[in-house]
């Protein structure tokens, strides 16, 4: 095998029908990479079937933190090819790509072949037969590890740990299968190897923000292997959440499955509700009782929750709702990503209902952004929505541990026995002390009906105006600090984006910089309330603004046009999910516009 080519990152896909063990192989491969001191991530993609559907594990490795998928794949390993043509768009191959499969499973799909990828056969099934008790996915794992140049001892260490449960014989057989796959890699067409410590994108800067506080130099033992959904769950706990009620929904369920055993350990509890209406009303009830509370859902669930979100706005009860976005509208594409809930998050309530919307911009930032959202909700006694998405939620990555931002739940409470307590008193900040049931002398009724400062129902215009002003003011006057956005770089062209498009935009800007084209990046973490003064400062000197997002109508673009005075020419670059935003397509936009 020749090793004439080196790259800053290597991308590899493993595919197969359900039950073939694609996700297991992918996860183990990621663990091997982590063990070897590499960074990497694995994106999951699967068909709609519960079992037996086609599945793809999409991996990318580097010596620097990896935040997004690359434009193309170096390697595709098909454990079988059943329905794998459905992934053709998600796994771009070209003449430099290598495609490996078992001839017993038939020829690779035409849609891949015609892209010119180099096909090499490997008899998985025969190899497995020679090792009774072993599985083809372990051959694929060894093959992948060998091809990308991961050390055999790292693979062995990971497998010994993970196969422990299966018992000695099974472990021995599958370890042997992985080693056979690893050995077979040497007979396969050459795959580029990872270059030394160079980031993806020729001159990638270390990303600011929580995700890389400790930097790529941090010892590998300190790194975390985590999904965005786990990260959001942990961020909630860090922020002080101790009660969660929720209803299962793809792709948010793992937030709940992580929290269910975690919360009791820290004195909290998770309750599975009968539906999303119950989930959100339960957490409003729990938070009214003084316990910081949260639910996690996806678009359809958020739609059901909007009425009660308005109740939390009006009754001023802090809650946090994590929306792990998926393709919409309606049931849409449940297991695949799209940033199309911007509109509902920002506007989806009746009445004038200000709310906080926070979007994490990396998998690691799911910790800090959720922690921050809990803090904001509690400090301002208002609902906060965390806009994550399926890409963050279900992607597992090796990350540097995100620093604890040190912000927890701090709710303003009245002093005990406060004379003439008024729950909704008009104050300078708009925030009024919130009495907690059990406290003598400050009983009040929290009400979704418009009310006066005591909380008693009122339909008088003066009370309505005063309370609307109060609820708007507490959000608009709050000091959000530097966390509202991450901005980096310089240049007359600014790319504004949010969420999971951030990694691709950062990489595109780095590529442009390598070609001498300067651009700056603004990744908004605080989507609502808008921060026009801060964005104007971040855009000072910019002449062109490119708004990048993954949805069909340019929901962020339209919001920015409505709420901000953007300098110079403004262009929207967008496409809907489930295809991820890739660095190359943003890079092309930047270079084409900069050179025009």
């Amino acid at each position: 095998m020749s090793r004439d080519k080196e790259k800053a990152s290597i991308s590899l896909a493993i595919t197969g029908s359900g039950g073939a063990g694609v996700m297991t192989a992918g996860n183990l491969l990621l663990e091997v990479a982590a063990q070897a001191g590499w960074y990497g991530l694995m994106v999951r993609s699967s068909g709609p079937q519960i079992r037996g559907g086609e599945a793809a594990a999409l991996l990318r490795f580097s010596h620097a933190p990896v935040e997004c998928l690359d434009d193309r794949f170096d390697v595709l390993i098909g454990i079988d090819w059943q329905n794998i043509h459905r992934f053709a768009d998600e796994i771009p191959l070209d003449a430099a790509s290598v495609m490996l499969g078992d001839p017993e499973q038939g020829e690779p799909p035409e849609v891949f072949v015609k892209r010119g990828a180099h096909y090499a056969p490997l008899a998985f099934k025969q190899m497995v037969k020679a090792l009774p008790g072993s599985w083809p996915n372990m051959i694929a794992l060894g093959l992948a590890a060998g091809l990308v140049g991961l050390p055999a001892d790292s693979m062995k260490a990971v497998l010994q740990k993970s196969l422990k449960k299966g018992g000695g014989e099974k472990m021995a057989a599958n370890l042997a299968a992985a080693e056979a796959g690893y050995a077979a890699a040497a007979t396969m067409p050459a795959v580029p190897r990872l270059a030394g410590h160079v980031a993806p994108g020729a001159s990638q800067k270390s990303a600011p923000g929580a995700s890389q506080k400790s930097g790529p130099g941090a010892g590998r033992d300190a790194r975390w292997l985590i999904t965005g959904n786990q990260a959001a769950g942990y961020g909630a706990v860090r922020g002080g959440v101790r009660f969660v009620a929720a209803y299962p929904i793809t792709p948010a369920t793992e937030v709940l499955e992580w929290l269910a055993p975690a919360l009791p350990k820290v004195g909290g509890a998770l309750v599975q509700a009968e539906d999303e209406l119950a989930s959100i009303n339960m957490i409003i009830g729990a938070s009214y009782g003084g316990v910081p509370s949260l639910t996690a859902t996806s678009g359809p669930g958020l739609s059901l929750m909007t009425e009660a979100l308005g109740l939390a706005v009006a009754a001023e009860v802090p809650i946090v709702v994590i929306d792990v976005m998926r393709g919409g509208p309606s049931t849409g594409i449940p297991a695949k990503s799209e940033q199309s809930d911007v509109n509902i998050a920002l506007n989806g309530l009746h009445g004038d209902a200000p709310r906080v919307v926070v979007a994490p911009n990396s998998i690691a930032d799911c910790v800090a952004a959720t922690q921050w959202a809990v803090h904001l909700a509690e400090a301002m006694q208002t609902p906060a929505i965390v806009l994550s998405d399926q890409y963050f939620g279900q992607t597992r990555a090796v990350v540097d541990p995100p620093a604890d931002i040190g912000l927890t739940s701090e709710r303003l409470k009245p002093s005990a026995g406060a004379e003439g307590y008024k729950r909704y008193a008009i104050t300078e900040s708009g925030i009024s002390p919130m009495a907690i049931p059990g406290t003598p002398g400050t009983a009040y009724t929290a009400d979704g009906l418009e009310h006066n400062d005591r909380g008693l129902p009122s339909s008088q215009s003066a009370d309505h105006t005063r309370q609307l002003d109060k609820r708007a003011k507490k959000l608009s006057d709050f000091d959000y600090g530097a966390r509202w956005a991450d901005f980096e770089g310089e240049g007359e062209l600014a790319v504004i984006t949010f969420g999971s498009c951030t990694g691709a935009a950062r990489e595109a800007i780095a590529r442009a910089a390598a070609e001498g084209i300067k651009a700056r990046l603004v990744s908004l973490r605080l989507l609502s309330p808008p921060q026009p003064g801060r964005l104007a400062a971040a855009l000072a000197g910019a002449k062109r603004v490119l708004v990048v997002e993954q949805n069909h109508t340019g929901q962020l673009y339209r919001y920015l046009r409505a709420e901000y005075d953007l300098p110079g020419e403004v262009k929207s670059f967008r496409h809907p999910g489930p295809l991820p935003m890739r660095p190359d397509e943003i890079h092309q936009q930047i270079t084409a516009w900069s050179c025009s």
Partner: protein, 278 residues
């Protein structure tokens, strides 16, 4: 005993707020309010330790008329809000107020699951067989031939049977009361609060504005001729075969309430990091 003076027993008056109800004159809900405060006093509760949670409708206005902590939420979701509150704060006494529209129609799903979940709540439904706040539409307990603007000639639908549904869904305490008997109703509510788990009290509470014929209920109700049972099948048979006017505690079970051990775990959040760390 040389402790300082023992506090005087608390009165029902101590649970009443100074806020004037919006109900029509003669509404049964006035009596239910009085039964609430009497029951709280009877149990020697303190207003700050009681939370009255409600949804939307005439009956759901009750929280602000008490001196307790109150929560007036959205239509149909009182049980969800109350469940969250009780699970997060098991030290509080949580009483839920609802009506036949709020509780049996828009909130029907939560009713089933609250019975099933058996959180230690008392659920009081003031049933007047009509939507009063929206001015006279049929509810799930309205008779099929009751004529209204929205249902000319009647709905033609059979009525919902809340008591037997509560029983089938797993409620641990099932009772029927009548607003016209505030002392008897207070006793039933106190018993419901005292009984652990999900207690369901259906109160016939006349709406004389839209259902003036309900004035006759006074003549129709009677004490149930039997004492309460812990046999759900027997209770179901009685409830299914009576005429809907037997008053009293009809079922009292012994199911353990659902209550996750909130506040018990003592680990720090950072202790959870081990599972991510390589």
């Amino acid at each position: 005993m040389n402790s300082p003076a023992v506090a005087a027993p608390i009165t029902a008056q101590a649970f009443k707020s100074d806020y004037k109800p919006i109900w029509c004159p003669g509404c049964g809900d006035y009596s239910v309010l009085s039964s609430f405060t009497k029951a709280f006093a009877k149990l020697d509760l303190r207003p700050e330790n009681v939370a009255v949670v409600s949804g939307i409708g005439c009956s759901s206005r009750i929280p602000a008329y008490t001196n307790c902590y109150g929560f007036h939420g959205v239509h149909g979701r009182s049980l969800a809000a109350a469940s969250g509150l009780k699970l997060a704060r098991p030290d509080l006494t949580v009483v839920v107020a609802s009506g036949d529209g709020d509780g049996y129609s828009i909130g029907g799903n939560h009713f089933l699951h609250a019975c099933r979940r058996n959180v230690d709540l008392t659920y009081v439904v003031m049933d007047n067989h009509v939507y009063g706040m929206t001015k006279g539409q049929p509810s799930p307990t309205t008779e099929p031939d009751w004529d209204s603007k929205l249902s000319p000639g009647g709905t033609g639908l059979r009525t919902f049977h809340p008591l037997v549904i509560a029983l089938a869904a797993g409620a641990n305490f099932v009772a029927r009361a009548f607003a016209g008997d505030p002392n008897g109703t207070a006793d039933i509510i106190a018993d419901a609060i005292r009984t652990p788990g999900f207690s369901f009290v259906e109160i016939l509470s006349p709406c004389i504005t839209f259902r003036p014929e309900q004035r006759e209920w006074k003549q129709m109700v009677r004490q149930a001729p039997v004492t309460s049972t812990d046999d759900a099948a027997r209770a179901a048979r009685r409830i299914m075969t009576d005429d809907g006017f037997n008053i009293g505690v009809l079922y009292k079970g012994g199911r353990k309430p659902y209550q996750p051990p909130i506040g018990k775990g003592k680990k720090r959040p950072s202790d959870l990091e081990a599972e991510f760390t390589l």
